[in-house]
Amino acid sequence: MTVENFVFQGLIGLSLAMYLWLVSAGLTLAFGVLGVLNFAHGSLYMVGAYLAYTLYGRLGFDFAVSVVLAVLTVGILGAVVERLLFRPMYRLDTAFQLILTFGLVLIFSDLAKLIWGGLFVIPPVPGIFQGTVPVLGRSFPVYNIFVITAGIIVALVMGLVLERTWWGKTVRAAAADREMAAALGLNISKVFVLVFAAAAMLAGLGGAFSIPVRVVDPGTGTALIVQAFIITVIGGLGNLRGAFVGSLLVGVLSAYGTLLFPVFELFIIYLLMAIVLLVKPEGLFGR
């Protein structure tokens, strides 16, 4: 095993991590603020992927335009879901929320089957992602560089908005104590709908970004949501910093697991989760 191969595998792991981060960021944001453990996050990812596929692959829009339109649409869908379905649920037991979001998974999956058919789809590779960059004597995909950049930008923007802006303060106040924040005159229901729309947009972004290299089918998002849950558990439920670090750990470790222990690489992620749960049950960054 040469040093070059080792570093290269780490870069592949980094792009995997940033891709997982895009998905787990929205999941953990929704939980942190709204307190909703949204199983249907993977479905929003799927809708983003299908919309981007339709716009780019079928209707011939530019890839960037398709991604933006898909993300905005999923955001609106998220706002509608929050207003109509989640709002009456906040007062009820968490179990009802779980049943609701799980029901949404089934409904979205069947709707996708009705609209796009049961067969997977994949569009042609957009021109900008064709080709590779030589890295350490090997070929690194332009696409992966793009995903790494997007992940870092999303992390920076989220960090800045939440830490440095009035809006961020409002969101954090609502997350910390929604009744106190409401008593102080903050419009909690507005915060909730916007935060959930933002979380949905992150899911949609993950999905829309995925279509150049992944097939989309009505089950897309199921496997990803499991990984995103592992990441949020490792990082601490509802903690964005935790989700970022958790994504890095899972992405990079699974890439190295594949390289160094090909026979039981899956085991490594679950081992990581087990250790975190034993040592710090609230997650690395959990309170």
Binding site: Q9, L16, G118, L119, F120, P212, D217, A223, P262, V263
Partner: protein, 433 residues
Amino acid sequence: MRRISRREFLSGAIAVGAAGTLAACAPTQAPTQPASQAKPLGVDTIKIGAMGALSGAHADYGRQINMGLELAKEEINAGGGILGSMIETRMLDEELKADVGVRNARQLVQDWGAHFLVGVDSSGVAMAIGPILPELDRVFIFTHAATHRLTEELVYDKKIKHIFRISVPVYQDAIVAAYVFRDKLPQARRFATIGADYEYGRAVWALFKEYMKRFRPEAEFVGEAWAPFLTTDFSSHIAAVMATNPDVIVATPWAGEGVTLLRQAVQLGVFDKIQAWWQAMGGSVDVLEGVKGEVQANAFKGKLWATARYIFNYPDTPENKAFVEKFRQRWARLPNYSAETTYSAVYAIKAAVEKARSLETSKVIAALEGLTLKTPAGDRYIRPEDHQAVYSVPAGRVIMDPNKYPIPFIGADLVILKPEDYYRKPPFEPIKF
């Protein structure tokens, strides 16, 4: 003279009317179904239960199983059924999970009353269903699941005679691959796998190594990476295997996962470095549709080799042409191999039941053993020892020719081996993996 009451008149009129109706029907019914022996099997319908993957990235295989099943049913019923009994079908989703498959089999037989079972995509599911068949007392004709252990261990060693397989097993995915690289790539030394992380992928890699080593003692098996079902990112698997500088990569993820894998391999520049990529189930219609853009753009640089348990462009026979034509008319798609194998399985049931003139499991088993059948894929012979159908399918490079087909097909450097060259024969030496 007695007056005819209204009631008598009416009943008389009905009787005459009924007789007239019967008389009108008689000429059309009598010749084909004399009342005494209309249903020699004693049932109105023969129920064939099926299962396959109907959800997720592998869903097209189940759908194609269903298309083949329905087409065969429609043809046979239009021709008067099997000895006068019509075929009825029911299809369930196996979800690629062993426990779901076992539950489906029980439900189809015990609740619905299936006489025969066909289908199954996953080898893991097939290995779980096999052992419960004697208890259900039904024949199961597997039409896709490919592990050699199904027929070698469960039928030949353990004598579970209820299992039959109409599709060629991993002898094709693995042993044909070894022949192809022996003959077509004499320079290839370093072999690696990106494998489907379950029974099927493990079996292919073990068998491939065994035969490649036999053909080329200096062959080295340099790398392996295993991807379970639901993998959506293969880049770490590809990068890990490429770190070992392979000449040839043997890949067994199938369906949508195969398409994702190939797309990501192109992205990682794999086809600039290797001599050949063997996509074991790359000759499957959904995969060929999925990689159409890459084949057209020559992204695989002519290095994509594939096979399938049947492919629409082979053999060049009237039976196959007719089948492909009927299938395209009925479903507006080209038939995948799971459609052809299931279609042929229904015809095998028909032939066996007509031979046995019974639905009794033991009699149908006896009739299926040694059966020869003309099918779209060519002549099939069901070996009595292991209940494996023997026939030949090609391997070769994937090319595009819009003048012939709307999607890519296995059309260049065709390697067509005689089944006796690459089918393992009883007694089977176990393969370690």
